[in-house]
């Protein structure tokens, strides 16, 4: 009984580690395949559309609403101290440093990451990947590399857009609903928000999140068990592991960047 239990733990641990190793090798192969895209830019452009542009709507809507809610909540707290004029600072710093990269990463994992896993997994189960191999076309180059690169390019851009619309959403609520003077909103931001410290750090975060999420997504798709059940599990793992990785990495990056 106990030995069975121990065996199970050992087996699970070993298979975890071997999967991590497999993921690492996969990443290496993907990186080595990237130069192939130079000769086939149209592959990258098509993926930029399906991975990036098609994620735009959810990013815009989420950004506006999060900015608006943040302005409302900040006002409630700040007004007690008579500091409601700092509302733009509250909105912009939380968006630039944390919410922008994290929310975009999470939404990207749910919208584009899951789609990538499902697409690649289905290509595997319908033998399209095998078919390419037999036609002497390496699917790592033709299928994986363009999707991987498109994800890495898209996430920071989507994050920038998210940040911009969230700050505008906050601006709308602050000036139209809460009666803050427009000039105050912008001048507070201009005075206190640092380009490097806040914006660039946020974008570095988003680059890291994009890298990790899209790596998980393409690996899960490529490595999935090619059945309907296996595909479902792989898609779920992409979203769960991707989201957890973002939250964990966010803590580490924040600790490193802001010298706490």
């Amino acid at each position: 009984m106990i030995s069975n239990w121990l065996q199970k733990i050992g087996h699970n641990t070993l298979s975890r580690f071997s999967r991590i190793g497999k993921g690492g090798m996969f990443l290496l192969q993907t990186l080595l395949s990237l130069p192939y895209i130079l000769g086939k830019p149209q592959l990258l452009i098509r993926q930029l559309y399906s991975v990036g542009v098609q994620t735009l709507l959810i990013i815009l809507v989420a950004g506006i609403f999060i900015g608006m809610v943040l302005a409302l909540q900040s006002y409630i707290v700040l007004v007690d101290f008579g500091a409601e004029e700092s509302i733009s600072l509250m909105v912009s710093l939380s968006i630039l440093r944390e919410l922008g990269p994290v929310f975009t990463g999470l939404l990207f994992a749910g919208r584009a990451g899951s789609a990538l896993t499902a697409e690649i997994g289905l290509m595997k189960s319908t033998e399209q990947l095998s078919g390419m191999e037999m036609m002497a076309v390496n699917p790592m180059k033709y299928v994986i590399a363009p999707r991987f690169l498109a994800g890495i390019i898209s996430v920071p851009l989507l994050t920038l857009i998210f940040m911009a619309v969230a700050i505008l959403g906050g601006f709308f609520v602050a000036t139209e609903m809460l009666g803050i003077y427009e000039g105050v909103y912008w001048s507070q931001m201009q005075a206190k928000v640092d380009f490097h410290e806040d914006l660039i750090n946020g974008l570095i975060k988003s680059l890291v999140f994009g890298f990790v999420v899209v790596w998980i997504a393409v690996f899960e798709g490529y490595d999935c068990v090619p059945t309907s059940e296996g595909l479902g599990q792989a898609t779920t793992r992409t979203v769960v592991h991707g989201s957890l990785a973002i939250l964990g990495l966010d803590f580490i990056l924040t600790a490193l960047m802001f010298n706490v």
Binding site: S130, G131, M132, M134, A136
Partner: protein
């Protein structure tokens, strides 16, 4: 096992005996636990990746059971895919080649369809046109007749036969459709559980004195391969259940 150049070699056997695995071994997609496979004088599993890809490009075409067409491309683009990837031919030459290949399988008129609009038989014919796009020396067919209606099946049988005779392509047909496969093959290997049970010309296999081969070739329900999956006797199972019920 020897597959002769320019001939149609059939590999037959029940489902799950490793026929498709064999094709994947030949194509270098799987590694053998023991033994070696030589294609055109080269040991497939000792080649570096670039050399393996070069060998595949030069000598192998494969028709997958599902067709394995790229679903985001049209029929035309699917057939053009290997040409665009491996040659630097101008678009006009690719256009001519694609139309010729599609003409061979009778689907020149379907070139603008998306692969999702094709019937199963048509998809397999498009896949065949794609497999012969680069004029490989050998073409491997994985269960080409499975799930086809009689007309599509007849078309595929004729295509495989014609391609072999007209272009001299070495053909390896993996199948368990006994009659269709036997009618076009020069040599047959019958395998079961990963082992060659018998091999020879279609006539020799037809007149085999092995009970197992006879059962397989004639499609008999019971014989050396029993009808029942191995289990206790029905009586034991039933009384066993009754006892369990009584204990409860």
């Amino acid at each position: 096992m020897d597959i002769e150049r320019g001939k149609v070699t059939a590999i037959m056997g029940p489902s799950g005996t490793g026929k498709t695995t064999l094709l994947k071994l030949i194509g270098g997609q799987l590694k053998p636990d023991a033994g070696s496979i030589h294609v055109d004088g080269e040991n497939v599993h000792q080649l570096s990746q670039p050399a393996l890809y070069e060998l595949r490009q030069r000598t192998m075409g494969m028709l997958f059971q599902s067709g394995a067409l790229l679903t985001d491309l049209s029929v035309y683009d699917n057939v053009a895919f290997p040409l665009r990837e491996h040659t630097s031919l101008p678009a006009s030459a690719i256009h001519h080649l694609v139309l010729l290949k599609l003409n061979v399988v009778g689907l020149r008129g379907a070139r603008d369809l998306m692969t999702t609009e094709l019937s199963g038989g048509m998809a397999r014919r498009v896949a065949l046109a794609r497999a012969i796009a680069l004029d490989p020396e050998m073409i491997m067919y994985d269960e080409p007749f499975t799930g086809q209606d009689p007309i599509s099946m007849g078309v595929l049988v004729k295509l495989i036969y014609d391609l072999n005779k007209a272009l001299g392509m070495t053909s390896v047909v993996v199948s368990h459709d006994v009659n269709e496969t036997a009618s076009i093959s020069d040599y047959i290997y019958v395998i079961s559980a990963g082992k060659v049970v018998q091999h020879g010309t279609p006539e020799k296999i037809e007149n085999s004195d092995s009970d197992w081969v006879q059962q397989f070739m004639r499609g008999l329900a019971d014989g050396p391969v029993p009808f029942h999956f191995s289990s206790d006797s029905l009586m034991d199972d039933l009384t066993g259940l009754a006892q369990q019920g009584a204990e409860k």
